[in-house]
């Protein structure tokens, strides 16, 4: 099986400050990678580098065997889409218009809206179940609804790879579960490769396939997500003791920050 994404030894320096050093990982189609780490670990830098916002000072990134630095922004957008953090920005679009804008990379100023564009849009709407509020203004939606629309717009881009930047922070528990279910569905049923930046250890440990743990710009460890929930790993990562128990319903291991004595 060929690699979808091959990141090797990338280093990002801004004004002599090393934000990310010697980071490497590979993803295959259908993978689900969670990027964890304390604040300032370089998670956002990694996402920005993958999106082409920041150029790595050293190292290479290959996406579908093409070097990222060779891709135009439009070609990159046909390979990789992005869901931002929910942060209550005012968006003055209807939901339908916003999702439609996901097709930007396939058009020029004068090209027509084709059947395949409509198909991509319909599919994105049906997967995310955004039909009920399609004609509402974005700024009238709840946080959970906005995130579903954000995911729909990213799906409309029809990319093999989807980046999510803490997609559930600032959402209430019900909407967190809902958005996480949707992400898993995209990965499992639609074979979309996911890279998710998260602070939710238990979600990452249970649902993702691989974990990249970053600390101060360095890769602390990279491996199967089943290895994440261990006291030593978590202590190294966050400098915090954790205790473990089993989920009463599913029996899965759950980590909880321990109370200081």
């Amino acid at each position: 099986m060929t690699k979808l994404l091959d990141v090797s030894d990338i280093t990002v320096k801004v004004d002599d400050k090393i934000l990310l050093s010697d980071t490497s990982f590979q993803l295959q189609q259908g993978d689900y990678l969670c990027v964890l780490g304390p604040n300032g670990a370089g998670k956002s830098t990694l996402l920005k580098t993958l999106m082409g916002i920041i150029k790595p000072t050293a190292g290479t990134i290959f996406l579908n065997q093409q070097s990222l630095s060779q891709l135009s922004q439009k070609h990159l957008a046909q390979q990789l889409s992005y869901v931002p953090q929910a942060h209550g920005r005012q968006l003055h679009f209807t939901v339908a218009d916003f999702i439609k804008m996901g097709r930007y990379a396939y058009h020029t100023a004068f090209s027509d809206w084709l059947a395949e564009d409509q198909h991509a849009m319909d599919q994105a709407i049906s997967i995310t179940d955004t039909e009920p509020f399609l004609h509402r203004q974005m700024n009238t939606l709840s946080g959970g609804e906005v995130q579903r629309v954000m995911i729909a717009a990213a799906l409309c881009q029809q990319t093999p790879l989807l980046l999510l930047d803490e997609p559930t922070s600032f959402l209430d528990p019900h909407h967190q579960v809902e958005v996480h279910q949707l992400i898993r569905q995209l990965n499992e049923q639609h074979n979309i490769t996911i890279i998710e930046v998260s602070h939710d250890l238990n979600h990452a440990g249970q649902h993702s396939k691989h974990i990249l743990a970053l600390k101060q710009g360095k890769t602390l460890w990279y491996g199967d997500s089943s290895d994440l929930l261990q006291a030593s790993h978590l202590h190294d990562l966050y400098g915090q003791q954790f205790v473990f128990t089993n989920h009463p319903q599913t029996g899965a291991v759950v980590a909880l920050p321990s109370e200081s004595p």
Binding site: Q73, K74, H75, H92, A109
Partner: protein, 321 residues
């Protein structure tokens, strides 16, 4: 109302304004030849200049509002027009009379001033990430003050004639004779309008935020540079000819947004037409309000714009908190 219906209505109203406005004004003569001369050589070119300048200023305002994602950001509030004014003032002070490839030297001077101001605002807002809209506007105010004091300084050093010329021009006026100025201004504003109309999808995405625009495939940096360049050119050309006519770029796009929505594919043509019609109307008022004396049109737009700015500021504050 559907956007297309609104746009047709705006087009019709603009057309009516354009056709009837040359006939408004003081007439002290009954001689048909003189009346014809006044209409053809003074009134019609004046209406055309007002329309072109109004369209250009309104479109540039719209672009700034989208790019800075802030309804209060316009070439005027961010000090770009002051930069252009300083360029043109220095040109008058130095007594230069140059032209580059048929373009008037004062246009080039104003364009340079605008470009310097815009680079200033942009590098400051870029240098400090997470720039709040308040800080952005305050930067603009500071830049405006700085350039204004340089203009005053230049004026102080000038002789009486130049000083008066600068003063009248700074008030923003459209008193022109013949078609030379129309032909000077039209290419700049047309080019600028064409590029803005071509980039309406990019403007929509920029309004959603740089990260979203980038991930959808917009080459954000290049689009920004291109837009900064053409808006500087457009504002520079208008300011060199008509002086800094304030607030058109803030009021018109905002009113159009209320009428037709935020989708730039509709908003841009609406703003172009409405901006033109609006300045033509303001100029009619400026000609008639204390006839036979004309007041500079910039005084009218600023009288309307000041309260509008305050209203927007209060409304915008209430929304964001």
């Amino acid at each position: 109302m559907k956007p297309v219906t609104t746009l047709i209505l705006i087009t019709l109203v603009t057309f009516v304004i354009l056709i009837i406005s040359p006939y408004f004004g003081l007439s002290t003569t009954t001689d048909p030849d003189i009346q014809h001369y006044i209409l053809a050589q003074i009134r019609i070119p004046r209406v055309l200049i007002a329309f072109i300048a109004g369209s250009g200023l309104a479109l540039c305002g719209m672009v700034f509002q989208a790019m800075f994602n802030n309804p209060l950001a316009t070439p005027f509030t961010l000090g770009v027009a002051s930069g252009a004014s300083l360029g043109a003032t220095l040109y008058v002070y130095l007594g230069l009379s140059l032209s580059f490839l048929g373009v008037d030297g004062s246009t080039v001077a104003a364009f340079s001033g605008a470009l310097i101001a815009i680079s200033f605002v942009y590098s400051i807002s870029h240098f400090r990430k997470g720039f709040s809209s308040e800080t952005l506007l305050l930067t603009g105010v500071a830049i405006s003050f700085f350039f204004s004091s340089l203009i005053l300084f230049t004026q102080y050093l000038s002789n009486v004639t130049d000083s008066f010329r600068i003063l009248r021009w700074l008030m923003g006026g459209l008193s022109i004779v013949g078609y030379h100025d129309v032909i000077q201004l039209l290419p700049f504003v047309s080019l600028c309008a064409a590029i803005i109309l071509w980039l309406t999808r990019e403007l929509n995405l920029l309004m959603a935020g740089d990260d979203i625009a980038l991930s959808r495939g917009v080459a954000v940096q290049q689009v920004r540079y291109l837009l900064f360049f053409v808006t500087s050119l457009c504002v520079g050309a208008i300011v060199a000819l008509c002086g800094p006519i304030g607030f058109v770029g803030m009021m018109v796009p905002h009113i159009c947004r209320l009428l037709i929505g935020s989708d730039h594919r509709w908003l841009a043509p609406a703003t172009l037409l409405f901006g033109g019609g609006f300045l033509v109307l303001c100029d009619v008022i400026a000609r008639l309000i204390i006839a036979p004396t004309e007041i500079p049109v910039g005084v009218i737009t600023t009288l309307l714009g000041g309260p509008f700015f305050l209203w927007l500021l209060i409304k915008y504050k209430a929304q964001s908190t």
